[in-house]
Structures are given as C-alpha cells and as structure tokens.
C-alpha cells in the first residue's frame, strides 16, 4: 500500500469532520478501555506478568539468531519449510512463487498485519491469483479497498449501515429484498459467502502471533475461527511472520498470551489459540500437505540494539491506540499506512522511512497513557521524542510541532466529540485549564469556547502522569 502518512495533518482534519467516522469511533472508545481495565483487575498477577513478558522478549531479542536457528531446525524436523525474506519484496516473491508452484487460483487469508505491511494481496492479484480475506473485519475493508484502521479491529471505522450497503453491492446474487439490519444478519451472510471460499481455496496464508523455538510452532490468536479454516482446509499453509515474533518455549508463550488478549479486547483469553507445527502427518485425515514459514526482516534487524529496539517487543495488542486521545479523535486511517496509533507513530518511520512518516511522531499529546497500558512496557513517548530529535537535527522539524495538541484542541470545537475525548481523561486540557478548572480559550477552539467555558477533565492519575512527562521533557 502506498503510504499517505505525509498528509497526516490533512487526513486528521478530514477525519474530525467525518461524521460517520466520529460516530463509529465514539462507539468503540469505551469498550476496549473498560474491558481491559476489568480483565486487569481480575488478575492480581497482571503487572508481574507484564514484567516477565517484557523480560522474555528482551532475552529472546538478545539471542534472536540462536532462537531463530533453533526454530528453523524444529520446523524442518516436523516436515515444514522456512524461507528468509530480508525485505518486503523478497517476502512477496517467495509467497507468489509458492502459490504458483501449488497451482493456486484462490488463496484464503487469515488476518495478518505483516501481510498488510508487505501488501501481499495486491501482489497476488496482479499475478492473477484471487486473495480472499476471511477475518470479518479484514473482509469488510478488502471489499472497500481500504487499509485497516486498527491493528486488531480493522473495520472499527465502519458503521453497520455502511456494511449493509457494501454487502448489497458486493453479493449481487443474493435476494435483493433480504433483511440486513442487525450485525447478526450481516455476520451470517459473510459466514455463508466465505464458507464457499474456504472450501475452494488452494492455499491458506496466515500470520503468526508467536513462533516457538522449542517446538517449531507458529501460533495464531483469533476469535472467529477463520484462521483455522484458512490453514486446515487447503493443500498448502503459508505462515508470514516477522522475525521478532520468536519466543523460546511453550511456557514463555503462555506468559505472553496471558497478557495479550487481556490488553487487546479485554478477554481473559481469545476463543482460539492455535499452535501449528508442520504439515499433516502421515496418519492425519486433515491438514495441509505443505507447511511454509516466511520470516520477514524488513527493517527489524536495523532496529535491534538501537534507539528503537524496544519497539521489537510489541505484540500488536492495540492497547496503545485504544487509549490514545489522538487515535481516538482521528481514527486509524489518518496515520496513512498499516500501523496506526502510538505504536504506528514509532514503527512506521522505521519501516517506511522518516521522510514518508515524519509527521507521525508528532501525533501525540504526550499524556503517556500508551506506555502505561502497553503490556510489553514499551516507552512509546520516549521513542516518539527520539524521532523528533532526529528530525530536529536534520532541520526537518515540521511546523506543527505540537500537532497532537492542536488536533486535540480542534476536537474541542465539537461538543459531542469533546465529551468523548474528555472521557479519556485528557491531561493536556487539564494542564491548560490548570487553576480555574475551566477553559475560557483553547488553541484552535475559538468557535466553541467563544460561547461557553469548557469543563476541564479531572483525574489525578493522568494529571500526575502529565507532570511526570513534562518533567522528563
């Protein structure tokens, strides 16, 4: 996908004016946040698990070459193949060649952020191979030719009315007078349509949340079961995963999985955690004949041991964006590429270059919530600062230095939007309002504050955090 991160500012302003998007974002902000808080409260060991999960990843990264070689050895022992892809183009070529060798016409896909990163669907389609996304959210955006707007809920920006319109447009052979009002009806239709694709597919491509060196196992975490149908029905299963997904043992995988779902959707555990090791065994009545893993570098080895090393611990849970006031105001598409929110603001410049993504590290209010909820304790605000310092040294600092703050203030023009954002406990606003606890004026918010004062958001924790942030700056 061609990045549109350069126009973050324009994208963001457009997003703030998009009523449909604001309606969709408004619905979702609280669900994830409240559910995570509940899951955390239900597990007294949660904070200790975070510490251990972090330590496991650090240990793995320090021995990444050893663990990847061990992982490879076990995959081969179980009858699978490992392919190494230094770049996105290498990964695309490897996957296309595998699909062509398999004589594939139709490929089903489980949800994979790395698949989005390398743009595998377009590459396969260009070669005449049909690639069908099977995760419901991914399917919804695929038929709209849109990128995901959230790493675990890719269609979070859509309303059911939009989905209905898309389905009527896309599924033309179904009766025109069918009722498609409720999510359950839409889900049932997608299930029926995609079931045919599952059964027809020649190759299934999935991502991997973890690669376990102990056993040569790839792990996917899903709720729908689409990833499982994707990988157990076709003749060939291809796993596409970036190298930092490695973990040493099954025990280590357990620790990370204990914090993953709780941080992501607030579930105690996802419905399906699937551990796959090699192709079907001689006695097995089902499963793929061939099992291939494509290990992608694409910039990771450069991050290793450097300023952005900590980002390699990311397990793609999405908590940082769920809790981010800027993401909450503008949604994921404004970020212009595959990875949105705070993790995207750090990762995207590493993957596509700071020239393309220079605005993103400014898309922050520096409230620190992302870091405080990140299960892997990644210092996201600090790394955004690193990027900005680099840019500053190069004399490239964009004019909108405090872009996130400005966006925020912009949102305050809109009472409803403001209410929602305030629910997130906006420290910047609290800071601005400091003594009076009311705003008489906000940058860019003249239209709204001309007529009345805005109540400033309260909440000790975040004001405290903000002070700490400020102290460190």
């Amino acid at each position: 996908m061609k990045p549109a991160s350069r126009s973050f500012k324009e994208n963001a302003v457009k997003a703030l004016h998009d009523d449909g998007l604001q309606q969709a974002l408004g619905k979702v902000r609280y669900g994830f946040v409240a559910n995570r808080a509940k899951a955390r409260a239900n597990l007294p060991e949660f904070e200790t698990l975070r510490d251990q999960a972090r330590a496991i990843k650090e240990h793995t990264l320090a021995h990444l070459d050893v663990y990847l070689e061990e992982y490879e050895k076990k995959v081969v022992e179980s009858g699978g193949h490992v392919h190494w892809a230094p770049s996105a183009a290498d990964a695309r070529d490897i996957i296309l060649r595998l699909c062509q060798d398999a004589g594939a016409h139709t490929v089903t896909k489980g949800k994979s952020m790395v698949g989005e990163e390398i743009g595998i669907n377009d590459h396969l389609e260009a070669a005449g191979i049909k690639a069908v996304e099977t995760d419901l959210g991914e399917y919804l955006i695929q038929i709209r030719h849109e990128p995901p707007s959230h790493i675990i809920a890719p269609a979070i920006h859509l309303t059911k009315a939009q989905v209905e319109a898309d389905f009527r447009d896309r599924h033309k052979d179904l009766p025109q007078d069918r009722i498609l009002e409720e999510p359950a009806q839409l889900v049932a239709e997608a299930r029926a349509v995609l079931r045919e694709q599952f059964l027809a597919a020649d190759v299934g491509i999935t991502g991997a949340n973890l690669l376990i060196a102990e056993t040569g196992t790839s792990v996917i975490v899903t709720n729908e079961g689409n990833g499982d149908l994707t990988q157990c029905l076709p003749r060939m299963h291809i796993v596409i995963a970036s190298i930092e997904k490695a973990v040493p043992t099954l025990e280590d995988a357990c620790t990370i999985l204990r914090v993953l779902a709780r941080s992501a959707t607030g579930q105690e555990f996802a419905t399906y955690n699937t551990f796959s090791t090699g192709p079907k065994r001689p006695e097995d009545p089902d499963g793929p004949e061939e099992y291939h893993v494509v290990l992608l570098d694409n910039g990771r080895t450069e991050m290793l041991g450097g300023e952005f090393h900590d980002m390699l611990r990311c397990i793609r849970c999405g908590a940082c964006m769920n809790h981010c006031p800027v993401y909450g105001a503008v949604g994921g598409h404004a970020y212009g590429w595959v990875y949105p929110g705070p993790m995207g603001s750090v990762l995207t410049p590493s993957l596509i270059g700071i020239d393309e993504a220079g605005h993103l590290p400014n898309a922050s209010t520096f409230c620190g919530r992302c870091e405080s909820v990140c299960p892997m304790r990644i210092p996201l605000p600090k790394m955004m600062r690193h990027w900005r310092e680099r840019e500053f040294e190069k004399g490239n600092m964009p004019a909108g230095f405090r872009l996130g703050l400005k966006l925020w203030a912009f949102a305050a023009r809109r009472p409803r939007l403001y209410q929602t954002l305030m629910g997130l406990g906006m420290p910047v606003m609290a800071k601005l309002a400091s003594k009076k606890r009311r705003f008489a004026w906000l940058p860019l918010a003249g239209g709204w504050t001309r007529h009345r004062d805005l109540p400033a958001p309260q909440g000790k924790t975040f004001q405290t955090l903000w002070r700490e942030q400020n102290g460190r700056q």
């Binding site: 969709a24 196992t217 149908l229 043992t249 105690e268 399906y272 089902d286």
Partner: protein
C-alpha cells in the same frame, strides 16, 4: 538471492546489530538451556488451585464465554445427554466423531435415535464431537490435538461442536496442560495442530456487537465426565 544467501543476510544482520563476535559460542548457552529446561514463569494463583476448585473455575469461566457445560458421572450417561441437548436446540440427532478411543467406548447403541458418523469434518456437518486431551481451568480452555482420533476440521466446520473431557484431565494452568502433552508426544515435539478452545466462535467486527458463530461453531457444548 537464494534462500541460503537470504538466510545468512538476515542472521548476519542480527549478529551485527547485537555486536556478536565470530565464534562466540558461549552466548548460546543460556538460550539452549532455556529450551532444554523450559522453566516456568509466574503462574497465576487461580491456575494453582486443587482439582475440585479447578473444575468449578473451568465450568464457570467457560460458561461466561458463551459455552454450555454439563457434567455426568459415567460415559454411559453421555448418549442421553447428547440426545437431549440436540433435541432442546432443534438439531438433528446426527453427529460426526473421529476414531477416539474414549468416544468409541461410549455405549451409543443404547440411544438408537442418535446416529454417529466417523471421519474428518465436512462443510455440511451440523454437529460434531471431539475429545479434549486436557484443559486449563484458568481461562476455561480446552486443548484439542489433531490426528485421526480427533481431526481438526471437526472443531471448526460444524455449527455445533461438542467437546468431551474427563474430569481428571481438567488441570489448573496452560503449563500443566503442555506438560500433559509432553508426556504423550515427547519433549520438543507436538502434533500438527493443538487447538486451545475457550468458547464458541465469535466476532465483534461490526460496531463492537458480539455475534456468535462468525466462521466456526455457533454453539460449543462441553461434557465433563467423572
């Protein structure tokens, strides 16, 4: 580039970034030891309760996640329970299983209204049944292993999936369950697929509304025996 040169390109880049010197074998030791010993990390208290408490936690958690859970004393009671469940959900009295030994021991013939077919899952299956080799009470999670006994397709293709587990196989933690698998499959070795299942298939991709039966089973019925 060939696969082997791409392989060394990635591995060399890792070593360069980590500052690994040529022939520095000693740094591999902690990694190899970890793989060999697979030490436990912290295991939550809720996963370390006794057998009885584990079964009730398992039951409670799984039901909270949208599954139906029933317990019977003996295998002989299973056919009636299955027949009643299917009847109450207006489902056909027909289901498919793999070649699992324990499922084969169930006296299906005593309930002639039930038809049991065998084999891997089919796209047209309404109801299937598998046996879970172990379960972790901490999140109401069943461990199902692939193979002729319990083909993986049975877990995902039907509308209604029934899973049977012996009470004694309900353990506290995921780690306990993995150790159970290590006993059966050996160290550093797993069957093709291990499915950790904690409820029926679901999605919240449309406006965050939870809908059951996204692609996998709409209903998940768990029978504890013993």
């Amino acid at each position: 580039m060939s696969n082997s040169s791409q392989r060394s390109a990635v591995l060399d880049a890792i070593r360069l970034s980590l500052g690994v010197k040529e022939g520095e074998k000693s740094r591999e030791t902690p990694a190899r030891k970890r793989l060999e010993r697979h030490p436990h990390n912290i295991v939550p208290e809720r996963a370390r309760r006794g057998a009885k408490a584990s079964i009730s936690l398992f039951n409670e958690t799984l039901e909270g996640q949208g599954a139906t859970v029933n317990r019977v004393k003996t295998l002989a009671a299973v056919p009636e329970l299955v027949a009643a469940y299917l009847r109450s959900n207006n489902l056909p009295a027909e289901f498919r299983t793999g070649d699992d030994n324990l499922l084969a021991k169930i006296p299906w013939g005593k309930t002639p209204s039930l038809t049991r077919q065998q084999g891997r899952g089919q796209g047209s299956d309404a109801v299937t049944m598998s046996r879970a080799i172990a379960a972790a009470a901490e999140t109401g999670t069943l461990f199902l292993t692939s193979g002729p006994d319990n083909p993986t397709t049975l877990n995902f293709l039907p509308d209604t999936h029934i899973a049977l587990i012996r009470a004694g196989d309900i353990l506290g933690s995921y780690e306990d369950a993995w150790n159970r698998l290590r006993d059966s499959y050996g160290e550093r070795s797993l069957p093709r697929a291990v499915n950790l299942i904690s409820g029926p298939s679901r999605t919240a991709d449309i406006e965050q509304v939870i809908v059951m039966g996204a692609h996998g089973p709409r209903r998940f019925f768990v029978i504890i025996v013993g």
